[in-house]
């Protein structure tokens, strides 16, 4: 079965490269943020790269993804181009939304990155709707809703799960559990029970994986995608991971008292990127020199994209009153 087959060398290298690229983009955003030229909130995905990349590796361009306020990793993993992403965060005319959305709405429909919506839970039913349309029209595309652990506290998640399960729609509900909603830990928001039980009670298949283990994410994602394409309905994937930096903004915030430096260090030890690199090196798929070359290529791309975003002009205010209606 495809789901359990190890990734080909090319795909494994792509996965590593995609994770590293997301990390380097986010770190570059954090580095440049204090220049105050990116004048919108940023919710960085540092630490959570394997979840986005692993799920998207199981998808094609025809599959559709919906994300949240923390959408940078999903946008890039789904194939959204870097220059328009950065230009959007800089509020520039070449942004993927022409500066209308900012960092919380990253969208690239051409790559199946349908929409990002910052209201918690709000984009989940959109994925179900895409899946309904695909099913009615006989396409075998799969739709993915990315969300965090707080979204399952929203009624709309349950409404979406109920309907997707009822109609056996091809949906992946991907819950990245990073243990916190802003500063509030999961244990203060939900009773002690597996999050997967919520989905099981809606009658759908579930899987729980280490969200910092790329191979594990790819494995559960591939299986869920295959199930969806077979017409066997939606799946809920619970991926354990950790947000390294503050909820919103470029900084580390382990010093302000809602979580401990020790907890952060324990998760940093599980950093998905060196973990995967070690696996690739031990299998001989990646050598140190090639890894360095890859990193420097990505760094050059990022530098060029930042230069592009900075050089791009601000949109004209007259554009604010256009495309209100189709």
């Amino acid at each position: 079965m495809e789901a359990n087959r190890p990734l080909s060398r090319d795909r494994a290298l792509k996965a590593y490269r995609d994770m590293l690229r997301i990390r380097m983009v986010e770190e570059a955003i954090a580095e440049h943020y204090s220049e105050q030229e990116m004048r919108c909130p940023v919710h960085l995905s540092v630490g959570q790269e394997a979840a986005a990349v692993g799920v998207c590796l199981a998808l094609t361009d025809a599959d559709r993804a919906y994300s949240t306020h923390r959408c940078h990793s999903h946008y890039l993993a789904k194939g959204g181009p870097l220059k328009p992403m950065l230009a959007e965060i800089y509020g520039k005319v070449d942004g993927c939304l022409g500066g209308r959305g900012g960092s919380m709405h990253l969208t690239s429909p051409e790559h199946g990155m349908m929409l990002s919506v910052p209201i918690v839970g709000s984009s989940i039913p959109l994925a179900v709707g895409s899946a309904l349309a695909d099913t009615l029209d006989g396409r075998d595309s799969v739709s993915v809703a990315f969300f965090g652990d707080a979204a399952v506290e929203e009624g709309i998640w349950h409404e979406s799960a109920n309907f997707a399960s009822l109609r056996k729609l091809p949906v992946l509900f991907v819950c990245e559990n990073n243990l916190y909603s802003v500063y509030t830990p999961l244990a203060e928001r939900q009773p002690n029970r597996p999050l997967t039980q919520l989905a099981e009670s809606h009658g759908m298949a579930t899987a729980h994986a280490d969200g910092n283990d790329l191979d594990a994410v790819v494995s559960v994602s591939s299986e869920a995608v295959a199930r969806a394409r077979r017409g066997d309905g939606p799946s809920f994937l619970l991926l354990d991971t950790y947000r390294w930096r503050e909820h919103c903004g470029p900084n580390y915030d382990n010093n302000i008292g809602y979580r401990t430096p020790e907890e952060f260090e324990s998760w940093r030890a599980l950093d998905p990127i060196p973990r995967y690199r070690r696996a690739l090196e031990s299998s001989g798929a990646l050598r140190a020199q090639a890894a360095e070359r890859m990193a420097s290529e990505i760094a050059a791309e990022i530098a060029e994209a930042f230069a592009f975003a900075k050089a791009s002009p601000l949109p004209d205010p007259s554009a604010a009153a256009t495309t209100i209606y189709a």
Partner: protein, 360 residues
Amino acid sequence: MTALRTISMADAIREGLTEAAKRDPSVIFFAEGVADPAAVYGTLKGIGSVIGHERMIEMPVAEAGLCGVAIGAALSGKRPVISFHRVEFALLAMEQIVNNAAKTTYISGGRHRVPIVLRLVVGRGWGQGPEHSQSLETMFSYFPGLKVVMPTYPADTKGMVVAAVEDDNPVILIEHRWCHYVQGHVPEGYYREAIDGPRTIRQGKDITIVATSYMVLEAMRAATALAELGVDAEVIDLRVLRPMALAPVLASVRRTGRLLTVDTGFKTLGIGAEVVAETTARCFAALKAAPQRIGLPDHPLPSSRGLIRGLYPDSIRIMRTISEMLKLPAEREAQAEAELAAQRGNLPIDVPDPFFKGPF
């Protein structure tokens, strides 16, 4: 002659939806009880037999989720029509409507489109009470990106329903429950009526009455009575609350010099407030009297027919207000009021007035 057959607005809605869905296979229907025996006041009855039952999507009792599902389907090529039995249920879906329906075209610079129709039933009757009889059209009309249509007459309604389904934008269709019973001559087959703004229903030179939905009928009845008093009222059916195209209203007020608004919602911060503010700002020099608004008072709408006495605006109140604006002789106005009251006879106040059944 078939063009002159008479049907109700509820049937006109059903015909409009059916014609639009027959022509475009991407049209799908969502409702709680989409194919049940009641079929949303009969407005969806039999559509599945015409277009295929797989296009009639039963909606679990999950208004927010299913509104989001409809938006997602719209982003992926479908034209969903969602029917809510009462506007209050749509409040559960407000986040989806205000954010994802209204803003996705804008945010995406037009790359995404959200061609959905949300049918919301408003209005009073039979003791429905504070959470089943509100007219909340103002709330939905607040948001750029939505279109809000509120038709009165059956022929108009059928054509506007077709236009709403064919529109590439989210269209909110506000249906007054009592207007469902209004009869009118409705052409058979397919036709569309542009969602483009107000219509002048009655021409007059002394005062401009701008009304919505059921209040258009009350305004027309008042206009007929006013004619007996020598007052020539112009009546404009606002029809489209967003985008609000007030050019015909402004032109009318420049001729008449007087404006009265009558709508089904709350007076404070209501549709009438917007019409009066904009018209006053743009026609100030033409005004001969301070514009007036008629609407609901600042309290929730109770159930008991005792408590609603005098609550809902009607032709008598419209006539009385106009009479004050025009300083008509009190005794003649009182006589006309008595005549209007006599026309209504002993009809209970919590059922639609058969006078308004038409046909129109």
